[in-house]
């Protein structure tokens, strides 16, 4: 109780200070940030079962972790728990890796992740959690706000990504179909509210702008009569005037902000991207019959958006990007649902691999500045349910990927205390390290000293004994 009170105080004080430092419009750079790292936050919405991606070696002896794990989870692969041979074979399908004495497997369809881990570019943080409950909406709210104490009623508050961008004097780019809460920036005066003036909606980078009538239209004087010209001139003029007369406190002012940001950035981005073709390899990710179309076209377009945003980095003045991939709530038929998702993101010649390759080929120096954070709102239960899936749980793994990451395993990847619990219904991965700890380290790596403002009170949250996250990013 004491902790919460103190945290609440810290949080309010820090957020209030951050809010007052805010501006009303998409920001211009006021001071150089400490790092030129670009953080790409990838939300795996639904509660991803990362224990399908990362597994321990199968062991035939009962009472061992490897035996308890594979037996309990056998049905997620459609294998009978007593079929030791099939379970052993399934383990063999995984890429086998070792780090600091821990042997583990990465799913066979995630070749790029394996390569990145071997290169020392992947941090696997074990037993992370944001919420003790198993409620999607509430856990997601806490995760995106970076606040383990956020209540269900705290819907309007800012997101940790938006706060980080703001304190860096930068914009945050939203690449998703709707702007996620993680992007919401701090409100200038009210910590319970948010302000999206430093959020750029880059959902469709190839179609960002407002329609603007071309007065050089070849049809002579058609600008006088053309309905597009009439409506475009009317609304352009109206919004310019309205911006002056409408109070910035008005709830309608957000729409004025949208008009200004879309018109301003859209015009510049469209002009820039006219000379930046989408690489064929990226286009193939969302093109049917290309031979390399991703299972999720939505994610494929986000890969393209990342590429485009980086091509317009000087225009958009951004260092935080928000992406997502939906569909991880796999209560049933885990295998057929989760494997295409994992491969889309982490497979060889798939999403992030293609992006990296094309950046290296066409935008030198950009790929090495990227840090990907892959996380979900909660983990799953230890054992498979009776429907070839897993039900909601608490702790999970999260991944940080990038050449600036000090790769390795953080925390106990396979806690032996789980062995007797595998056979108990409802048991899950115990959350030992709060996500706030991870976010705070990311904040400090991107903007030195920013963690206390962006994630106030983070030092009072849980950290697994023996784990040191201070060197997560160099």
């Amino acid at each position: 109780m004491k902790r919460i009170t103190r945290r609440a105080f810290l949080r309010y004080s820090a957020l209030a200070g951050l809010s007052l430092a805010g501006s009303q419009f998409p920001v211009k750079i006021h001071a150089a940030p400490d790092s030129d790292t670009i953080l790409v936050i990838i939300m795996l919405a639904g509660g991803p079962d990362m224990r399908y991606l990362i597994v321990p070696p199968y062991e035939s002896s009962s009472g061992t972790y490897g035996n308890a794990f594979w037996t309990a989870r056998a049905r997620t692969y459609g294998i009978s728990p007593d079929n030791a041979e099939a379970l052993a074979a399934k383990w063999e399908e995984y890429h086998h890796l070792e780090s600091s004495g821990t042997i583990f497997g990465i799913h066979a369809r995630c070749g790029w992740l394996r390569d990145q881990f071997v290169a020392g570019n992947v941090a696997i943080i074990s037993n992370v959690f944001i919420s003790r409950n198993r409620d999607h909406a509430h856990s997601r709210l806490r995760l995106e706000q970076g606040d383990m104490d956020a209540a269900t009623s705290d819907q309007g508050r800012s997101g940790w990504g938006g706060r980080l961008a703001k304190i860096c004097g930068k914009n945050i780019c939203s690449l998703t179909s709707s702007v996620r809460q993680v992007c919401y920036g701090p409100h200038p005066t009210n910590p319970a509210d948010h302000d999206n003036s430093n959020v750029i909606d880059a959902k469709d980078t190839r179609n960002m702008g407002l329609y603007e009538y071309d007065s050089d239209y070849p049809d002579g004087n058609s600008w006088r009569w053309n309905t597009r010209g009439i409506m475009s001139r009317a609304l352009t003029s109206y919004y310019a005037a309205k911006a002056r007369s409408l109070s910035t406190d008005s709830p309608y002012y957000r729409i004025i902000q949208h008009e200004q940001s879309v018109r301003s950035f859209g015009r510049q981005v469209n002009a820039r991207l006219d000379s930046v073709p989408v690489p064929e390899a990226i286009e193939a990710l969302y093109t049917s019959d290309s031979g390399n179309q991703l299972d999720s076209s939505g994610f494929a377009y986000q890969v393209r958006n990342i590429y485009d945003v980086l091509a317009c980095e000087d225009i958009l003045e951004t260092n935080i990007l928000s992406a997502d991939y939906d569909g991880w709530d796999n209560h049933r038929y885990m295998q057929e649902n989760i494997e295409p998702h994992l491969e889309d993101i982490l497979g060889t010649n798939k999403g992030l691999d293609v992006l990296h390759a094309q950046l290296n080929a066409n935008q030198p120096g950009k790929a090495e500045r990227l840090v990907f954070l892959l996380y979900g709102e909660f983990g799953r239960q230890l054992a498979a349910n009776g429907d070839h899936g897993t039900d909601h749980g608490e702790g999970n793994y999260c991944l940080l990927i990038g050449s600036r990451i000090n790769g390795g395993i953080y925390g106990e990847m396979f806690p032996t205390s789980e062995i007797p619990r595998f056979s108990q219904p409802g048991e899950d991965i115990e959350g030992k390290t709060s996500y706030e700890r991870v976010f705070a380290r990311l904040c400090d790596a991107i903007k030195s000293g920013s963690s206390d403002s962006v994630i106030p009170g983070w030092q009072e949250t849980e950290l697994e004994p023996g784990v040191d996250l201070s060197g997560l990013i160099s």
Binding site: T152, T227, Y238, Y252
Partner: protein, 660 residues
Amino acid sequence: MKRGVLKILFVLLFISPVGYFPEGGSAAAAVYAGDVSHDGLTDLRDVILSLQVLSGRVPTSPVHADADVDSDERIGLAEAVTAQRVVARQPVGWAVFTDWDETAVRKVLQTFAYGGHPTDDQVTQWADMNPEDAIREMLTFSPFNERLSPPDIDSLIEHVNGTLESLADFFSTASADNPFTDEDDRGNYNKRQWRGPRYTWLMAMRARGLNSFYHRIGFWETNYHMSANHEAGVYPFPMIRHYDNIMLAHAEDLPYQQVMARGALNAAIAYQYGHNHNVWIEGEFRGNDDFAREFHQLFFCNLGEYDHDYHESVSIEHTALALTGIRANYHPSDEGGPDVEACFSSDVHHVEPVEILHATITGANAKEKIENLAEVAIDHPESQANLPVMIVETLADDNLTPEKKTALRWIWQAMPEKSLLEFLRTYAISTLFHSPDRIKYHTSFDKHLFIHNQMLLANQELYDDINGIQRLLSEDDVLPFRPLHNVFGHQTGDEAYNSPTIFKNHYNESTDWYWYYERLSYGDSGYSRQWHTVIPPNQYGLYMVKDVARWLWQRFVADGWKNYSVLEKAHLYALLSTGHDLGYYLHDTLPTAPDPDTVYYEEDLSDPNAPASIMVQNAGNSYIALNSPDPDTRETANKYVQRAIAFIAATPYTFLEEGR
């Protein structure tokens, strides 16, 4: 009877078990305000009796009219509010909205019926009525509401019973009465095709002669509250039954917990969550607990915060047992297609009673257990606290304060039998809904369907597909029955409000896609939209531009002209009088305005003697030939109206609404 008594006792305990004797008064000596039971006390019994009268139910004990508090010679909402205040010994934060007028009526219709299709005369009639009476005509769960949506010449009421299924059948079959003659058009309404539910609901939501409120709530129930999703594999016909079963339960006036139980037991929900595979065999549970959790959380708004560990390990796990033995299976179309309704087997059901929410739940099959569980779940304090808030938060108010939430809980808890309809009626005429700080951010559905309905003058426009709405929804990535957040519901108002992309789409629809608004006819039916059929002319039978502009603003914004400034007037006058934008109009008429791209600010237009203001006034005082005998002139005038609508639709005032 026992259950009713228990429920009242629960309410008494939960709220405040106090009666109130006015100071110096005697319990039996006088009739106090709100003491409708005449027992000398103004207490919760009076709240309940008043609400029973209000809801048209037979009161459980005699009611005395001399407890009337608002001199309307009846017992109803005002008496219930008074009694609540007395019981609480404090203001309960709401009352009947006393400034009930045309704008109040339009705001209710905008929020709860996407505007509906009432005539202006009908809106005036409702505005002139006592709000308690008006709301009972405006919001009904009958599949037809002739005042809200008068029948068109196609007399849909003669061909359908108002359910989605009957609409799908009517519009997809080869009947001579079917206005769709093209086979492809008919195929759109096939209840077994994936596009069938979407097309059918969009027709139901917009067609005249049905009930816009009924279908707006049907959409909310199935796309937000009890959400099911084609993307998750919920088949079309079961989706339609999910919708119809829920709405027919509302139409039957079933208590809300029974409506939710019916929703929970629909085949669509079983496909959605996969508990149609949950079985109890040889003492072992096989299945998942997905819906076991969401039944409590999403349907009844019980997050388990009362006792997290108990909720997880007992209530959810045992609800999973209660859901065993539901059968709904896929079959190929040549074998009849997927099961449309679930059936409930005892063979693989956990027949023994289970403990859930600290109550013993019995039942020989899943249906019986879930129906019994619903009766317990609705009374749980967490549901009582959260469910009414969720309803209002998702339907009508994105700015709920703690005080407003408390008041909503009062309204909910005071209902002896939970009724969504009575709750919404009470809320819709309350100071809570008409509060100045109420803000509702419009989803893409809210905005597009309201504007579309206000634009729609005849069902032939739907049959000709003059202003196809599906492209607009697709552009925003929102389609009915494919909720963006799966079981957590479709696009929220907050999401749309915070999305520059949604703004961009809507702006571009008024400019680049101007034809969406400007098209008055399509195809060879001979129909063309004629605004003179609904816009009132002046006393000389003419249409003055400033009158038309003012009428359009109220129809499409419904804010009582609160945000209708000189700037909006100037742009609308220019568009309506000449078809041109303000910049070009002034450029064309004023020698001092050389550039049509000039921006005119409010201050430029506020001085009545300034040249620009004079020209704007001239435009406002001109006439638009909506009833010209010449078809071409009339068509041009109607196109100018459409441009004005396109302009209004792109202003900030259509992206959200406020109370008063």
